[in-house]
Symmetry: C2
Subunit: 229 residues, 2 copies
DNA sequence: CTACTCTGCCCGTACGTGCGGTCAGTTTTC
DNA sequence: GAAAACTGACCGCACGTACGGGCAGAGTAG
């Protein structure tokens, strides 16, 4: 029934976080359907029952992964939006952040991206879905701001947000965090093409896309800080 | 119950194609892991054994779905590349075609896009993977041509192809073929943003993106013809 | 024409396995 | 000592697929 509620006077999570992390990695590697309690338990040297004890059902475990992920991303987004005023900088920040997450927390990111679809229709995913929608709305708002400010060409903001999210969410199928291709290069190239595509003047776009520019730096500070705390 | 029909004169495949189509739809709706022989058999009013008789294993059935899909896409691609000389037209054609397929054969397209990842590592998928790589190489080649012709700004062609494929392959998560949003609008918006992002002069981009322009028309003819034969 | 055989679909069942989840009980922690 | 953490045995079920056989039509011999 009602889940463990953390525990009183207990160091945050303990074994629980460990389980969630391992489960997340398995989801990232094999997908939700092929990830199973047995393998996770074996890898952590514990019993299947322990996992059930902590999370109840597999569905709930996935829901928690998604909610934590989206929770962090929303916090970050609000943080860099507060620091970056210009629409083209804000949009670039979303791209830099999206790419950075792929290397900083590859497992969580891939797990999320593989299984996003589930939060559209699956029951028990309402919270995560609401978070996802809120995140997307932030991007749409930025796109509209940009159009009103004349820094983006007029067009369908929602469609553009989907075009952008597609590029980022698809990364899990080809991007290798251990590979030769630096994530900053990916972010920079994506930013350049996207901003130019939206009609942003070259000078502004160049600054926003620059891997060592103010936007990328700002995002890096925020994201890295949250990840290591 | 009497739906099989099949008709005299022996249509190619007979029941076999029917099985494959139903299986494809199930994969599109639930994903490969949750699609199963039992449901397909029940829906077609046949036994599970029949499916096994025709395809052997589930893996092989998926492989055949992917191979057929990529086979058709490759044929189409070669067809419109032969008719369209300019790089910006060729690139736009890939976008128009990608979107058009989502409405013309939604099940096959979604099934493919959901399960593309499998053809990277899964054994038995070598053929489909080779086809996929060939298709991607066609796009990369067009991007390079465009740079040499000065119609695209210099940059990483492979990265750009991935950015573009991301937008298209992600469509299955949000695009509804039955919905209000016309696919031509999606294609046009994607083309505009992409081509502008690559630095294509506005006049050329406008023609290539136009849903009633020569590129979209050419693609429509080729794709529709193949689908209905 | 008849009878026989061969062959490609197709059926129904049964089996093995993997997995999510239960439960009763033990150990650990505060 | 109460609550939480953990265990290991167990259940039920869903699913892939192996298997043995049925049936209808085509080819063939008499």
């Amino acid at each position: 029934m009602a889940e463990p509620v953390v525990a009183p006077g207990r160091p945050r999570g303990g074994r629980r976080d460990e389980i969630l992390a391992t489960f997340t990695r398995h989801v990232a590697e094999r997908g939700y359907d092929r990830a199973n309690f047995g393998d996770v338990a074996t890898e952590l040297g514990m019993s299947k029952g322990t996992i059930v004890h902590h999370f109840g059902t597999k569905d709930r475990m996935l829901a928690e992964v998604q909610e934590r992920y989206m929770g962090r991303r929303l916090e970050e987004a609000h943080a860099f939006l507060a620091r970056l005023p210009a629409p083209e900088q804000r949009l670039a920040a979303f791209v830099h952040a999206g790419v950075r997450y792929s290397t900083l927390e590859p497992a969580t990111t891939v797990a999320f991206q593989r299984e996003v679809v589930r939060l559209t229709h699956e029951p028990g995913m309402e919270t995560a879905r609401a978070q996802r929608d809120a995140y997307r709305d932030l991007v749409v708002a930025v796109l509209r701001e940009g159009q009103e400010a004349g820094v983006f060409v007029p067009g369908d903001a929602r469609l553009r947000s989907l075009q952008m999210f597609g590029s980022l969410h698809w990364m899990w199928t080809w991007f290798d965090p251990q590979g030769r291709l630096p994530p900053e290069d990916v972010a920079a190239e994506f930013c350049r093409t996207l901003l130019r595509g939206l009609g942003t003047p070259d000078e502004l776009a160049a600054v926003a896309a620059d891997p060592h520019g103010p936007v990328a730096t700002c995002v890096a500070e925020i994201v890295d800080q949250r990840a290591t705390r």
